[in-house]
Amino acid sequence: MNGLDRIMAIVVKEFRHLLRDPRVLATVLLLPIAQMLLFAYAISFDVRNVPTIVIDQDQTPASRAYVQTYSAGGFFQVRGDAAGIGDVDGIFRRGEASVVVVVPAGFERAITSGAKADVDVIVDGSDPNAARMGQAYALALNRLYGQQVAAVWAEKQGLDLSAAGGLDPRVRTWFNPDRQSSIFLIPGLVAVILMIVCVQQTAVTVVRERDLHTAEQMVVSPVTHTELIVGKLLPWTILAFFDMGMVVAVGMLVFGVPLRGSVVLLLVASLLFVFASLAMGVIVSTIAPSMETANVMALMLAFLPGLLLSGLAFPLESIPVVLQWVSSVFPARYMVDISRGVFLKGAGFSDEWPQLGSLALYTVVALFLAVRLYARKVRT
């Protein structure tokens, strides 16, 4: 028997393990799709329909017309009106609304008499994103409404209108007018999903072998460490590529993600990335003495950095510099960058070579470490 036969024997053995446990196989195949659907639909910071409560203490045609403007825009979702001003704290504490608009009595009188009508807009700061948007939209809305009021009044009085004008922000969204995050996210998700599957799975399968004391039996067989590792990782490489194919297919067919760039680049990068992730899995498995530990560590090393330090959903530019350095230690950010470039921007080798180089370097180092650590672990 030569080395290749031995590797194949291990590959067959691993696949048999998998087939004997169809649930694990099903999860490995379904989890990426489930993850993709979840992320594609749920990751959004776009604020709309902010729950709003209006306290109209004036109850006049003018105040009602004013209040109406809140419902009209689509940003505020007027959920009803509350009794008195004292209720604002209660509304926020119960979480019934994020914005409360108070129109005090005398609103109409002030407007018709040519004075400024006071209005209070109180925003719940405990959801900063919604609060910031709420603040901005409320200011813009009131500004515009005030201008209309001023224009009507000035016309009646026959006055110069020059002071009534103002700047009106008109927001346009490019590339992705519906602000659907999915198109932007899916190329990055391909990378992160690959990483999660690879790291977690390899970490656990290797530890399991040790837990069940079959690792010793392996050692007495003529299989060398390298053969064993290659044999163990090959099935997962195949599965990882299958997962990736599925994610890409669903992304392109269901979500309409374009594939504009070089497919070869994507394949080369994915191959490097899969190896890097598998190596990381092996490293975790050599450090972790039990499956629980391997699991928690894989979560901490693959899932969190993959999701948070890859630039997938949170822009890397806005995190502290130290963490930006940390992020370059994880391969996910290079892969996310390459994947995004290939899918969305039509990038080729010439555009992404620094990322590809980093990824290659990372893969070589990780594989080297993995083999060394694994060999040391088996020997002891």
């Binding site: 776009d46 500004r143 201008q147 969204t173 822009p315």
Partner: protein
């Protein structure tokens, strides 16, 4: 229930934990990793957005707008192209994420008392930057309007004087909402991952049968199994709360009792889920897979990271079925807003319901399985 039996069982778990010191270490490091990740990455407030300004008006007003945008930390003006068409390449290449377009005739429109539109172009591909960029830009324009109105004496004109103010978390720092939710999340990850393995592990190694040849009862076995990990998870939450308030300066305005009660109820649901997964799995690998499958949607849909209001409407009702959603509401409200028990009646009722159903089902199922 014999206290001595329980104590011995707890001691046994701790002895086992000592054999696997890595788990203990990892579990204790976890809150810090999470704190760093969520405190600095997820809660990082977006600033220095790369911006382009297209000034087609070349007027006093357009220069005012330009300097207003250049002088804040929110925008980094990277380019000042002469035409709007040039924006295409800038946005395409990702050189800028926001563009401000001041159309020709802005000054003229203002001089005749008309409303002049200012274009705010955002790169919609990046959800967070586009949403934050929009609100910052609108805010700056609102400030400009205000200053202009004051200069022109428009105070004399009728209009609406909106006093927009923020209550609670006035600085709008995201950390203040992220860290309270983290208390529950850390606890959830530990308990679900560890407990999902608990029963399968003893079954796999055949020690479960040995256990029941001893005088230990099933109830004692369960308590002995759950207590150590419950304590461990509480320690994690406590570390998170301490570092959160001390290092990240998260305000705590509520009542400790409400936080503890909420966490306790939430803990019961996660213990229940962990045990249920452990019961339906034959091997540890299966248990681990299943728990990933269960945990991920809970994380993403709970509103802990991504706001529920931003999710598609058909998904939103499902978020109520996730215990973490309610735990996050309770923790946030009591940290930031100082909400009382009466204010949080709804999420608490949900949690009580989940605790009874999930924990109850888990206990019944475990007892039945253990009696087999």
């Amino acid at each position: 229930m014999n206290v001595r039996h329980v104590r011995l069982l707890v001691w046994k778990e701790f002895v086992q934990l000592r054999r696997d010191p890595m788990l203990l270490r990892v579990v204790m490091i976890m809150p810090f990793v999470y704190l760093i990740m969520f405190g600095y990455v997820v809660a990082a407030d977006v600033t220095h957005l790369p911006t382009a300004i297209v000034d087609l008006d070349h007027s006093v007003t357009s220069r005012q707008i330009d300097s207003a945008f250049s002088s804040t930390a929110y925008f980094d003006v990277k380019a000042r192209p002469d035409t709007e068409a040039a924006l295409q390449t800038l946005l395409d290449r990702g050189d800028v994420q926001v563009a401000i377009v001041i159309p020709d005739g802005t000054q003229a429109a203002l001089d005749t008392g008309q409303v002049a539109g200012i274009g705010i172009v955002v790169d919609g591909a990046d959800s967070q930057s586009s949403s934050v960029g929009t609100s910052y830009a609108m805010q700056i324009i609102a400030d400009l309007n205000q200053a202009r109105a004051a200069d022109l004496g428009a105070g004399a004109l009728p209009g609406v004087d909106a006093r927009v103010r923020v209550e609670y978390n006035q600085t709008l720092a995201s950390v203040n909402t992220m860290i309270p939710g983290l208390l529950a999340s850390v606890l959830m990850v530990t308990l679900m991952v560890v407990l999902s393995q608990a029963v399968v592990k003893e079954r796999e190694s055949g020690t479960l049968e040995q256990m029941f040849t001893t005088p230990v009862s099933r109830g004692e076995y369960l308590v002995g199994k759950l207590l150590p990990y419950g304590l461990l998870a509480c320690a994690q939450s406590a570390i998170t709360a301490f570092v959160g308030t001390w290092w990240f300066g998260v305000p705590f305005t509520g009542s400790v009792w409400i936080v503890c009660l909420g966490l306790l109820l939430f803990m019961l649901t996660t213990i229940g889920l962990g045990l249920l997964v452990s019961l339906v799995s034959r091997t540890r690998q299966q248990a681990q897979q299943t728990i990933m499958f269960v945990m991920l949607p809970m994380f993403i849909l709970s509103g802990f990271i991504f706001p529920i209001e931003s999710m598609p409407a058909p998904i939103q009702p499902f978020t109520k079925l996730i215990p973490l959603t309610h735990a996050v509401v309770i923790l946030r409200a009591s940290f930031v807003k100082g909400s009382g028990l009466a204010d949080l009646a709804e999420p608490f009722l949900y949690l009580v319901g989940f605790a009874i159903v999930i924990f109850g089902a888990a206990i019944i199922a475990v007892r039945r399985r253990l009696s087999e």
